[in-house]
Amino acid sequence: MRDVAIVGANMLKFGRYPDKDVVQLASEAAINALKDAGCSIKDVEIVVSGNLYQSNAMIGQRIMKEIGATGVPVINVSNACATGSTAFREAYYSVASGAYDVAMAIGSEQMGKMGLLGAGGGGDRAYNTEGVMGTGLMPGVFGQSGVEHMRKYGTTQAQFAKVAVKNHEHGVHNPYAQYQKETPLEEVLNARVVGWPNTLYMCCPTGDGAAAIVMMSADKAKQFTTKPLWVAASVLTSDPYAPRNPTMFDINTVTRIAAKEAYAKAGIGPEDLSQVELHDCFATAELLHYENLGLCADGEAGRMIDEGATKIGGKIPVNASGGLLSKGHPLGATGVANIVEIVGSTPGAGLQGGTGPRHRPGLRLHDQHHQEIARPN
């Protein structure tokens, strides 16, 4: 495998764009990323487009028609909450493998006010099982995962709530976040419950957004930048068999095996990280991932948030961007945007000068869950 450099990166501010369609949003991010890289669409040899809910609408090809239909291969990927990360990975491997020298990953989603994830229909079932045979809604699923941590380690709702407090504090500094508003602990705990123990402010907002990244081989990157940012590893896993899974989604093991493999490939350990962006779709998830990513020992996540170790300025800042809780979670865009955040590129600023106050040089680790919505129960 060859070294792969990130040469251009961009994300749009997440939010609601009722006057634009998803292709326009994605195209805007793609053009900005190309500008950031100092290249044009004519330099791009392969495009991978991540989009979940409209992936059957050939978003990738439509983006190319909008920004320059050069005839290169276009792949549409759909992989639940890991859709954007998977687009990045496929683009990364297309260069790492030696098949292409310049690849672009684009993530996009337009959800509007779509509401609860996992509320989709039950296919050809006679009747929806939600609320009758337990819950498959994401707030419930991630609520259960948090409750499992409570059961194992005595973690409290207030400790989970502190994740929302921290990430919303961070989000205030991020102009690309959907929400820039602090939520003190009392406010988080007193907000209406969505799926206990997660209250409203412990759930990420849905919305619209797009992000794009241009990657190049080492030789090619030299033509466009003097400061290439190298990708240390990109790992995708799926959840292995466990006696309770798939009745209960196991968000932990899948993340643990991905992290272990990523650390091994990068030749580092969690102690070497200076910054982490992780998938805090719900406040409960973030604490679990401290342990899954090896940022602390099992059972120590509650203490870690209590001590402020994951705040900006702490031992290992987590979600300095404000996380999904502040930024929003337009599904297909999220994984790409998390990498953009680590790259530290902001529109017009470029890789060379785009680091804001919340950025530190570091390696990105974004857990790549595969959260199957199609469920057996």
């Binding site: 609860l116 009747y127 099982t129 009758v132 045979m133 819950t135 498959g136 799926g195 209960m248 057996p376």
Partner: protein
């Protein structure tokens, strides 16, 4: 036998619930299969074993109607038409298989870690009528 004047068919909401002909006199139950190769248990029928990949044989199992709460969430915001709040739990059945289910007999407005390990018992209930007029039967759990 004529078709007329027969009671509506009772259909399980999910394939791993079996509803006997003379339900409710004969209780409905949860069933599944066990892989003979690795002993992994599953709800309902399998194409192959999700653990070891074996394509069989599988042994059919009638699972217990007794179990305990492993974990839960209380869902307050649900899909349109579904009454909330409700307790959505993962129930560990006695046989070492888990099922996703609603739990009744606890106050959803007072979620508590005391609920861990609480013994529950399955009961079957009509929850809807499908578009053909048949009864839809679900498995629910109440505190034992």
């Amino acid at each position: 036998m004529t078709q007329e004047a027969t009671a509506p068919t009772k259909n399980p909401i999910l394939p791993f619930i079996r509803v006997p002909e003379n339900f409710p006199d004969e209780p409905a139950y949860i069933w599944g299969v066990q892989c003979k190769a690795c002993e992994a248990k599953f709800l309902g029928q399998r194409t192959a074993c999700g653990n070891c990949g074996s394509t069989g044989p599988f042994e059919e199992q009638r699972y217990s109607d007794e179990g305990e709460i492993y974990v839960f969430s209380v869902v307050h915001q649900s899909v349109p038409g579904v009454e909330a709040p409700y307790i959505g739990a993962i129930i560990d059945l006695k046989d070492g298989i888990s099922v996703r289910a609603n739990v009744y007999g606890l106050d959803p407005l007072k979620p508590s870690t005391d609920w861990f390990g609480k013994k529950v018992k399955m009961y079957a209930e009509k929850v809807a009528t499908d578009k053909d007029g048949n009864d839809v039967i679900a498995a629910k759990f109440k505190v034992a």
